[in-house]
Amino acid sequence: MSVRHALLALLSEGPKYGLQLREEFEERTGEVWPLNVGQVYTTLQRLERDGLVASDGDGQDGAQNGPQKGFRITAAGAEELAGWLRTPPDMASPPRDELVMKVLVALRVPGTNVQDVIQVHRRYLVELMQQWTRIKENEAEDDMSLALVVDAELFRLDSVIRWLDAADGRIKRAAADPPTTTGTTTGKPNAAIGVRRRVGVRK
């Protein structure tokens, strides 16, 4: 989450004070991203240094003058914000996912029932989803920001469970019908090695 761009977004609505920015930030993110006031002022200082926001008053030590200091977005800040909104985050590199690692390692540890390992994680994730769904059911119906944040968490957790389900099915099928050939035969070994390196899998 970019606090820097979130503050620029809030200032794009009009000039605001530091404390007001903190309150509105928490409100707009469904109050699931607490932000301390120090973080707000440090970020504002940097934004002012970079010419993306300007402060009221004498222009000296602008962001350090406390809660009564007002801030407004500059033209450069508006341009930065518009560019950020349309720049997709980097999702091309597979993350080094701890859960994926645990399942891969479980396959190699003698005497480990991988399906039991998968089920422990599946249950934990479903329990987390139950908690998020309760928040959606009870608190998010009239709060669009919170509903969007909760949906994002639910879809994220759901995608991990789907991966666990797929892994479970794949392992079960492989156990029932072990492959008769091994190795890469697709003619594209380099691409496969590249992906392996990126996800941290070693043969």
Binding site: V32, W33, E127, Q130, Q131, W132, I135, E137, D158
Partner: protein, 240 residues
């Protein structure tokens, strides 16, 4: 009080070498006002569990009690009566009769149970109204959207004195917004005192339940603990 109780229920199909065990010693209790989800992959026995719970199929062994009545001790007619009076079903493909309007579909189980037509219709319209479908009561299923059809089938499942709602992938054919609306309606029915069992492979659906049971190769292998309050998530600044 448990509205549904299954005690060591097993179901096998075929005989000898061809015998397949769809359910193995499954025990389950669902109280009034609560929702239990049963999750598992295809072929894990979810649908068999639901048809046995709904007395549409008999177990090979074990006992099933609905509203305190042991199904195996009831005559065929008494079982059918209990089914009509106490159990509502929601299916993925809605199962509405195409030649009947939404109101007629909802009224049908009541009329079959001997409720006079006018009274049944009144209850059906009230049930459709609760689900936001009062202006669709006279429409035929093919004149309704997927979401409306599923709401009509929930209206049929909760109408009258039904105490147990059994749902098989109830939002499987719907988009996520309509799927959520369906789950909210099932939760609302539970808050009014119904007991519900939802079988699904979808974690988003299952997460609406008070308890999630995991079925694998016909056995219950695991279940969730009661969910913690929202404070535990909100207080830790999730997503940071």
């Amino acid at each position: 009080m448990s509205v549904l109780e299954m005690r060591r229920v097993s179901r096998a199909y075929g005989q000898g070498a061809a015998e397949v065990h769809a359910l193995k010693e499954v025990s389950l209790k669902v109280d009034a006002g609560s929702m239990v989800a049963v999750m598992g992959p295809s072929g894990s026995g979810k649908s068999t569990l639901l048809t046995i719970a709904g007395s549409l199929e008999e177990p090979s062994s074990g006992e099933v009690l609905v509203c305190g009545e042991e199904l195996s001790k009831l005559s065929g007619n008494a079982r059918a009566r209990l089914r009509r009076r106490s159990i509502g079903y929601v299916f993925q493909d809605f199962n509405l009769l195409p030649g009947l309007t939404a109101a007629e579909n909802v009224a049908l189980p009541l009329e079959l149970d001997g409720v006079p037509a006018r009274k049944a219709r009144k209850a059906a319209v009230a049930s459709l109204d609760e689900l936001g479908l009062s202006d669709r009561a006279e429409h035929f299923p093919d004149q309704l959207s997927g979401g409306e059809r599923q709401r009509a089938s929930i209206a049929r499942a909760v109408v009258g004195e039904h105490q147990l709602l059994l749902a098989d992938e109830p939002s499987g054919a719907l988009d996520s917004v309509n799927g959520e609306a369906v789950m909210r309606l099932i939760r609302a029915a539970c808050k009014r005192g119904l007991a519900a069992v939802v079988v699904t492979h979808d974690a988003q659906l299952a997460s609406w339940a008070d308890r999630v049971m995991f079925l694998r190769d016909g056995r219950v292998t695991d279940q969730t603990a009661p969910p913690a309050g929202p404070e535990s998530l909100l207080a830790r600044g999730a997503g940071q």
